[in-house]
Symmetry: none
DNA sequence: AGCTATATTTCACACACAATTAACTATTTG
DNA sequence: CAAATAGTTAATTGTGTGTGAAATATAGCT
């Protein structure tokens, strides 16, 4: 299976064998994996790693999976992440509590890698479908129709196809019209948190977009950043 | 309203080269940096400096990073600070101990400045999109709409985009209408506590704002300062 | 694999304009 | 009518941004 963006998975379990098994299989499937051996570490890592999926053992020393889950869910940046519990067949006690604190699914050990992988892959496939045929992928503003499904842009009757970054930039700016974003903001939303690119790169992309859609739509606010606005 | 304050970083490492590299890059990014070459000195500095972030080498003479971290964490004033460990790739021994004593993250040397900076910036960044539908950034007073998200000002039907300092000045004054602020107050709030600028500078900015919004809104109180008020 | 085209990032320089200072004038106040 | 404070305009400094071009990376194709 091929993954367009590299999804991030955080594996939390106190048994090194399990961690290793999961890590190996996930990386083979093309996921980016981080591991933690207890809840505290998981929370710490999640501060900078921001996983799309957390595999969480329920039984752990210090802070158990349920509590960890609760605290993870309090982070707004994890609102759209999946959390799957791992549980030994015996420990059924927690099933209900697990869903109460915001788990999306749970799996019983022993883990069968094949099954797990296909389940995880399915998770993200569904995720993709959910967001793709959505109405929200088209932004209409002024005489523009900005269509995320085709990466094209209609300015009146004229169709313009933009390359990825340029399109993302325009799309993001136009989805928050009149709001000023700093270059760092734009880098984080479009390039991603863990990509190390110079802020000046944004300038160049802004220029290219301006060349293609016209000079009057993206405004510079000196010392602050850029905003999209319709001219009067 | 709060202006981005200067975050403080304490760099602790016994290798001068590393310290210098980090210090240089952090200061270039606008952080206030103090350095220490071992754990004891770090603890001493932290008494008066109170860093928002500590970059802590694990392997150090006298007192190692783990122990230093533990003692730092006992200080209540550092409860909300970040602590990031620096570790050579080989010294994996300490990963677990590190999180146990309250580290937030760890990085392996060799250090890639750009990646590190981006990661640190991310730590202090508040999520952007979250704040977008918020109305709190808009001040409505009389026939003015002063919008911090777009750095624009509507006076009736007329839109005016102000440059950064001018906008901040107007925004600050108008968020406390009828209250008089001395030039020092304004410098302190808008320019920041540790910036040395002549108080006369405020006059000039006031002049510019008056030119753009009209002469009747910012009133001078001689011997005291300025205030924003709607004319009768 | 290699080649080509295109996208993306970096770099360097010039320029515009914001920010600050300076110099001078006007006004208030005791 | 001094002395102090603020207004005004101009000159200077400084920073941020625009721009073209070069360097890398990526994708598509034979």
């Amino acid at each position: 299976m091929t993954i367009q963006r590299k999804y991030k998975v955080l594996v939390v379990d106190d048994e090194p064998d399990i961690v290793e098994l999961l890590e190996y299989n996930l990386e083979k499937e093309g996921y980016e994996v981080q591991t933690a051996s207890n809840g505290k570490k998981a929370l710490a890592i999640a501060k900078t790693f921001v996983p799309d999926l957390v595999l969480l053992d329920i039984m752990m020393p210090e802070m158990d999976g349920v509590e960890t889950c609760r605290q993870l869910r309090q982070r707004t940046e994890l609102a759209n992440s999946f959390i799957i519990f791992l549980t030994a067949r015996s420990e059924e006690y927690s099933e209900i509590a697990a869903f109460d604190v915001g788990a999306d699914d749970y799996l019983t050990k022993p883990i069968r890698p094949r099954a797990l992988m296909s389940r995880i892959n399915a998770l993200f496939r569904r995720d993709v479908q959910k967001t793709s045929p959505d109405e929200h992928d088209v932004i209409r503003i002024g005489d523009f129709v900005i269509d995320r499904t085709s990466y094209t842009l209609m300015k009146g009757e004229v169709q313009i196809t933009l390359p990825k970054k340029e399109f993302e930039l325009l799309y993001f700016l136009s989805s928050n019209p009149n709001k000023v974003f700093s270059r760092d903001d734009l880098l984080h939303h479009i390039w991603g948190a863990d990509v190390y690119v110079l802020a000046r790169t944004v300038d160049v992309h802004i220029r290219r977009v301006r060349e293609k859609i016209g000079e009057d739509y993206i405004t510079t606010v000196k010392g602050v950043g850029y905003k999209f606005e319709m001219p009067k």
